[in-house]
Amino acid sequence: MKEKIRIASGQGFWGDLIDAPYHQVTKGDVDYLVMDYLAEVTMSILQKQKNKNPELGYAKDIPPLMERILPVCKEKNIKVITNGGGVNPEGCANAILEIAERLNLNVKVAVVLGDNIKDQIDEIISSGCELNNMETGESINLVKDKLLSANVYFGAFPIVKALQNGADIVITGRTTDTGLTLAPMIYEFGWKDNDYDLLSAGTVAGHILECGGQASGGNLLADWESVENLAEIGFPIAEAYPNGEVIITKHENLGGKVSFETVAEQLLYEIGDPKNYITPDCVADFTSIQLEDLGNNRVRVFNVKGFKETDSYKVSCSYQYGFSAIGNLTYSWPQAVTKAKAADKILRKRLENLNLTFDEIRTEIVGYDSCHGPLSKKINEDDVNEVVLRIAVRSRDYNSVERFGKEIAPLILTGPPSVTGFAGGRPRPSDVVAYWPALIPKNLVKPQVKIMEA
């Protein structure tokens, strides 16, 4: 058994710093590179891409990235784990194998399948699982005909199986962000599926790594100006030990910072009840976590406790809801705010006269109070240099949203003065894809692992 392994976070979301994974594998020693690409709505975007071209449906950033890092990973024996397979892990694996062949590298790619249940929804419902919305309790029948994607969140164990089968690269569909980091610890240290404290320790490490640079100095509220060289930020690395202790660190020759504050802020990010952090692998108790700032960008994470996993997987469905568009106009001093409000009133009157239908029209004044609303500091209007009027609409009716887009530019010549910032043409309606969270008994779905070789 290895005495320790170093797991590097390479991406916090699809669209994150493109060079981060390359730096993680080249600027120092790591054993694993883990990359999270999937946000809740990402699956629906990928599903649409796959509908147009059956070879797509995965994070398209992955093949060019692999082209850059494969030779290094092969040479240094770094394994890569990512959920960027989206709705087509096999397509992603094929693209990687093609590259490997071209580079004359022999790599073993494993895919995790079985999370995509979109085509089995009726079967699942008829077996007694209602897939009710876990937030609102509503029946899935409300949206069943509009479903764009439906995926089960798998945990670490299918990835562990892939590693046991000798995979150099593991490509999954919908896997929890935390499972990507936990899996190599289970595999390397031989943890069992009932070692709940250890599984929770790995899950906590996964939570710290899952948003990339947000644990190593990015988006830091505590003395953010103290963070050096954000331009070349080093993403976090979890140095894991068999007893469940983890040291969060980063490559020395990259920027950013790892401290009690950077790790604590990330631990608090997007959590609910800290005593019940539920994953498919375990239930971690975030109130048990101890942090020790060792200095030199090293923070020890220890004493993590946890409990048995639940009987259900979470399911994430997405469905076509309607359309939205956003219009922006900039008003300058004098009376910038008053002008923006007057323009909003004129626009709303015009929309009303057109008999359009909207679920909601929301007006915000950026540069004045759009972030903190009524908590914003009251400013004398004469001290305001300029504001951006931001008007957003949402509707089930495409035509209403499209027509809204045509009513923004006319305000420049037919509304209050000193207005600018209308570039880029009319706001176009974009699809609003809504999210439907549900639960499914674990025995109704089975993860499959498939090895693919060139």
Binding site: A222, E261, L268, P274, P374, V432, V433
Partner: protein, 105 residues
Amino acid sequence: MKIRLLDIAHGRSGDKGDAANVGIIAYDDKGYQIIKNHLTEERVKRHFEGICLGKVERFELPNLRALNFMLHNTLGGGGTISLKHDAQGKTLAAALLRMELEIEE
């Protein structure tokens, strides 16, 4: 004595559906006692009047000198439905740090 929450604590916020989670972390143990005593669910709900339209739930993490608040019905529908400029509640931790507290010297 009047103090600003910003001077004794930091934090991070994000979205969970239509709820925002706001984590507040005190810089030291004394600060944790202050936030633990002053940042009640009622006080935080009052602070976010007009922003948080649902209930406020509070969870304690003494191990991190932290409190986690769930602000329900806060993000204009949440996710992709929301038309808010800050649809994910990313700036709400800073909004809570605006709070001023009256504490004993």
